[in-house]
Amino acid sequence: MAAIYSLYIINKSGGLIFYKDYGSSGRMDTNDSLRVASLWHSMHAISQQLSPISGCFGIELLQADTFDLHCFQSLTGYISLLFFFLSKKVTRMIQGTKFFVVCEPGTQHMEGLLKHIYELYTDYVLKNPFYEMEMPIRCELFDINLTQAIQKDRVALLAR
């Protein structure tokens, strides 16, 4: 039984830069994962626009019938200012690198895991001199540490 089904990382402009599947049935092919990632990017932006209160940073948790999707957005990214002519208002839209996991419904402590993955990303991807920003992630150390983190999370979940 897998607690975490898959992990996605998308860059500031909505391109998929990392996708890993941890045992979901009927895994997606490359084209579908790219499409899903960019769709999520747009839905995330629209959710900021529909907020009844200002200061919305987008969807953090989506609860579907068979899975939960937890999303974490890094604080560095574009801040686009949208000026609405009719209402004469300005809203900020924040678009950073997004990390999201698909997991079983009701899985706890996913925010912590996502923040840990973000730390791994800063340590092993951003500090890698051969990594080009916004490009797909191909860093061995990141892969190794990520696998460890997910394993640890799974063990902790079983022990609970």
Partner: protein, 169 residues
């Protein structure tokens, strides 16, 4: 690492009012995407005009539904992304949460979509939406003067709804 030291970066959450009164707004759409009802209780921020707002909301729900249907990790064969699906077909979603609001969504088999936007700390509202759907059946569908597919103008429905939403905590 001190990047996540606190929550100061995001603006502090609007304080949840003492008892109930957590509802921001509510939408009812029919299966063609016509907005049958829009109620607003507490919405300080308006970015779009009303018609565009309804369109954007319907678009968001439609796309999120096709996204969840495609992402569903438990079924091996899924339709392609964006293929229209009947109500109840494929994996749907029931709520999402951002730092400023929570949106709960319900779709009836006839394609009526009820959307309730509340304070992010509210609990599971699936039962509440079912109750609202029952109110809709009682006060709107059974109203002989109501033509299906037109915006809802039933005084009794509105007052009962307002009362009920005020009681949601």
């Amino acid at each position: 690492m001190q990047f996540f030291g606190g929550t100061e970066i995001s603006p502090s959450l609007p304080a949840s009012t003492a008892s109930g009164n957590n509802g921001h707004m509510m939408y009812v759409f029919n299966r063609n995407g016509v907005c049958l009802l829009y109620r607003e209780w507490n919405r300080p921020l308006h970015t779009l005009n009303q018609q565009q707002d309804h369109k954007l909301m319907f678009g968001l729900l439609f796309s999120l539904k096709s996204l969840t249907a495609k992402m569903d990790p438990t079924t091996p064969d899924k339709a392609n992304l964006g293929v229209p699906q009947l109500p109840g077909q494929g994996c749907s979603f029931h709520s999402f949460r951002t730092n400023t609001y929570k949106l709960t969504f319900m779709e009836s088999p006839s394609g009526i979509k009820i959307i309730l936007v509340t304070h992010p700390r509210t609990g599971d509202l699936r039962e509440s939406l079912k109750y609202i759907y029952n109110l809709y059946v009682e006060y709107v569908v059974k109203n002989p003067l109501y033509t299906p597919g037109t915006p809802i103008r039933c005084e009794l429905f509105n007052t009962t709804l307002d009362q009920y939403v005020r009681s949601i905590s």
